[in-house]
């Protein structure tokens, strides 16, 4: 439950600010000049703040749309991401956000129309479809009842079929999608992990079965579905764990509605990983054998290749090869 709202001066009178404030009538409201005053100071601890994050309402001024990292590739040539929100409701132990930001507060940029303009302009630069990934610095749907961003974005994308939207989520907040007609240029991509991994590492996120249930409903309603097995987590029983898991997931999948599957193992920029270990030195996942090249931390190449090759082989028993994409990258 959000009990504190920081409100940037520039958006104090914005209609979305007023709507969100009305949702939290008892929340303490604190005005600030710029969201960075609250979000960026060094004297903050992500782990402590995650116990009770506040919501910061702000305006974004530039860099609405940025080129996506190489790992964000589901078949398009032109890949971009945008972040209408920073930070996530969930507390996944492998998430780079906890290593990147000092603050666990959520920042919501309420000037959605500026994102629209940037997306349209970017899509118009290409003859081929341009892909826009929304779940990079946040979960695309987790806070949808409050933000209404996905509903807004879908209206925009519905008018621009050359722009493909990926909503990446672990959430079951799918009401906004079920309540409207489907559009062909949107993929609702669910990040999934085996149940035991999800229970151990994906704190506060819906269980695997709830995510599969939400996925099933969207699929039935006609939405294109994506599956994101990223990061795959190494453990000694990974073969039985992931083989059983893929069987469980694909029992829910209609291959006709399946847009894409992506697969990647855990990797993290060195500085983010160092910060994450400082926050959770006793975390079992961080204690696994990992190699540190001073820029990236990842499983040793031999383990990574063996694990990914196994997962790929297993996945291809359930789905066609042309829909499977590898998450390979140099940096996040």
């Amino acid at each position: 439950m959000i009990d504190t709202l920081y409100i940037e001066a520039a958006v104090a009178d914005h209609p979305r600010t007023r709507e969100i404030c009305a949702r939290y009538p008892k929340a303490r409201r604190i005005d600030c000049e710029r969201y960075s005053e609250v979000f960026n100071p060094a004297a903050q601890n992500f782990r402590l703040q995650k116990q009770k994050p506040a919501l910061i309402l702000a305006s974004k001024f530039k860099n609405f749309v940025l080129p996506a990292p190489l790992s964000y590739n589901i078949g398009g040539q032109h890949n971009y991401y945008f972040s209408h929100m920073l930070n996530c409701l969930y507390d996944c132990r492998y998430c780079f956000l906890q290593g990147m930001y000092r603050s666990a507060n959520y920042v919501l940029f309420v000037n959605y129309e500026d994102f629209d303009r940037a997306i349209i302009e970017t899509a118009q630069q290409h003859k081929e479809p341009a892909y826009f990934f929304s779940g990079y610095d946040c979960d695309s749907l987790a806070l949808e009842p409050v933000t209404g961003f996905a509903a807004h974005a879908l209206d925009t994308f519905a008018r621009h079929p050359n722009a493909i939207l990926e909503l990446r989520t672990k959430s079951t907040q799918i009401r906004a999608l079920l309540d409207r007609p489907t559009i062909d240029n949107c993929v609702v991509a669910f990040s999934l992990s085996p149940d035991s991994v999800a229970q151990a590492l994906e704190h506060k996120a819906p269980s695997l079965s709830k995510r599969l249930d939400a996925l099933g409903k969207l699929q039935q309603a006609g939405w294109k579905i994506g599956l994101r097995f990223d990061p795959v987590i190494y453990c000694h029983n990974y073969q039985t764990l992931y083989a059983d898991f893929f069987r469980q997931v694909f029992a829910h999948i209609d291959l006709e509605r399946l847009h894409s599957v992506s697969l990647g193992s855990f990797r993290m920029p060195h500085t983010f990983f160092r910060n994450m270990v400082r926050l959770y030195p006793d975390e079992k996942m961080f204690a696994a054998p990992l190699t540190d090249t001073n820029t990236m931390v990842a499983y040793p190449a031999e383990i990574e290749q063996r694990m990914l090759s196994f997962c790929k082989q297993e996945l291809l028993t359930h789905m066609p090869k042309e829909k499977l994409f590898a998450c390979t990258e140099e940096s996040i």
Binding site: Y6, I30, N45, R47, K52, L241, D282
Partner: protein, 267 residues
């Protein structure tokens, strides 16, 4: 350690009595009181004095910090208390936002730190004091903002100017807030415990350091290796025959790493 910073002896007295704090002879011109994990320093009036007192009791350890004091303001009733979630330094315009993760029924309010007492009660929804900006600017250099908090008790407003607040009233106003203060201190203790988990020295570290000589850089490596050991095999001791047979730390570290990499972990 929970550090309490108060400006005046009258504000300190109810806290000293309530927590049974004992005076400590100290250099530096500050009165210092302590018992168990509580430490109280009387800073004197003003933000510079508050900053100096804070720095005086800070050391390498992670402390929680609570500035307790009187404040003026028209938006609250005299005798009410508030946790401060925005501090503005009036003379510099600088602002701080102490993050609030503690669960407390205490009201919250913004505060401006001024150099001279406010005569007219000031703006609405704002408290005024003379220490908080100095305290917060200093204490937040020593620990994370979640563990640096200010609790202010309203002592004066436009109808009851600060000149009318004497030591007896100040003492009484703080006394009335002891339950709220207790609650906040308890919450800070819990946060401090969580933070201490992050910085804890791993089990077995001391025995390693006693057994072999490690350079500073090797000690960092050893600490991380022992954290990994603790995460993967908390019930086992790393002191096996192979390790104990090593003479030098440069042999110990790779062997320990190899043994950790071989520990099986399951989800």
């Amino acid at each position: 350690m929970i550090n309490l910073i108060v400006a005046l002896q009258a504000e300190a007295k109810p806290l000293i009595n309530h927590y049974g704090l004992n005076g400590r002879a100290t250099a530096g011109g500050f009165r210092l009181y302590q018992r168990d994990d509580l430490q109280l320093i009387v800073s004197g009036k003003g933000k510079l004095a508050a900053a100096a007192a804070t720095t005086f009791i800070a050391d390498d350890n992670n402390h929680a910090w609570l500035n307790i004091g009187l404040a003026g303001g028209t938006s609250m009733t005299i005798g009410e208390s508030a946790l401060i979630d925005k501090i503005t330094d009036h003379s510099s315009g600088q602002r701080w936002y102490p993050p609030h993760v503690i669960n407390s029924p205490t009201l919250r309010c913004a505060l401006t730190t001024v150099d001279q007492p406010q005569a007219n009660g000031g703006a609405e929804h704002m408290l005024y004091d003379m220490e908080a900006s100095g305290f917060y600017a200093s204490a937040s250099r020593f620990n994370s903002g979640e563990l640096v908090q200010c609790l202010k008790v309203v002592s004066d407003d436009c109808h009851n100017p600060c000149q009318s607040v004497d030591a007896a009233l100040g003492q009484e106003l703080i006394e009335q807030q002891l339950d709220a203060i207790d609650h906040i201190i308890q919450q800070l203790r819990q946060l401090l415990t969580t933070q201490q988990e992050m910085f804890a020295t791993p089990e077995h570290m001391a025995r390693f350091l006693a057994q072999w000589h490690f350079s500073t850089s090797q000690q960092h490596q050893l600490k991380r290796l022992l954290q990994r050991w603790q995460a993967l095999a908390p019930a086992c001791s790393p002191f096996n025959d192979a390790l104990l047979a090593q003479r030098h730390s440069r042999q110990v570290l790779p062997l320990l790493q190899q043994q950790i990499d071989e520990i099986e972990s399951y989800f």
